[in-house]
């Protein structure tokens, strides 16, 4: 079984520029998550999709962050414009189900550095 694929692996941009991250979940996984992990902290949920619908985006800074999951498969997370405090690892995860206890499968993440 192929894992969760994310790209790019690393990205360096200047503040006020735009950036996009891509995630391809495990085949058949209906639930998809984007997390932000700042250095020295645990991951923080940004947005959760069930198929192509948003379930929870309460912690997504909507003035600069956006995410979509067209056709309920791949997903893209965008930041526009980026700020210095957006420097972090962005993790994508997928899950086969939506029930309690359904394990999350994570990708290797994208490390974003904003200068």
């Amino acid at each position: 079984e192929a894992g969760v694929a994310q790209s790019p692996r690393y990205k360096i941009i200047e503040k006020r520029q735009s950036v996009a991250f891509w995630c391809n979940p495990i085949s058949g996984h209906a639930t998809l998550y984007w997390y932000q992990q700042i250095l020295g902290q645990g991951p923080k949920l940004l947005i959760q999709f069930q198929n192509n619908g948003v379930v929870d985006d309460s912690q997504l800074p909507k003035d600069r962050f956006s995410a979509e999951r067209l056709k309920g498969v791949d997903s893209t997370l965008k930041i526009q414009p980026a700020k210095l405090e957006d420097s972090a690892v962005y993790l994508c995860a997928s899950s086969p189900g939506w029930g309690l206890g359904s394990p999350l499968h994570f990708g290797n993440g994208t490390r974003l550095t904003v200068t």
Binding site: Y35, L91, W98, G99, L100, G101, G109
Partner: protein, 118 residues
């Protein structure tokens, strides 16, 4: 809001010894799951073990076991016979049901950096 607290930023253990990582959480829910994830330098989060709140029996997975104390809201991870490959960041995580049904995304603690001394 639910919170997860890991009070040990770093732990060190000799290879082949046993180590326990601590985690406490705060919730008013009765139905929830708790997880321990491992994050090596590759950054990929790997599930170590999970525990359903309704199950009294502590979960075990080979060398990994938990001590789940529901009343105390404590969920510690015990690693027996520590191996060099166990070195990583360990995160405790919590999830419960959303009001509209389905599981909420995981809430993570800040993590514990586990060092294995050869």
């Amino acid at each position: 809001a639910q919170t997860v607290t890991q009070s040990q930023p770093e732990m060190s253990v000799q290879e082949a010894e046993t180590v326990t990582l601590s985690c406490t959480y705060d919730t008013s829910e009765s139905d929830y799951y708790l997880f321990w994830y491992k994050q090596p330098p590759s950054r990929q989060m790997i599930l170590v073990i999970r525990q359903e709140a309704y199950k009294q029996q502590n979960a075990t997975e080979n060398r990994f076991s938990v001590n789940f104390q529901k009343a105390a809201k404590s969920f510690s991870l015990k690693i027996s016979d520590s191996q060099l490959g166990d070195a990583a960041m360990y995160f405790c995580a919590y999830t419960t049901l959303l009001s509209g049904g389905g599981a909420d995304g995981l809430t993570f603690g800040k993590g514990t950096h586990l060092i294995i001394q050869p």
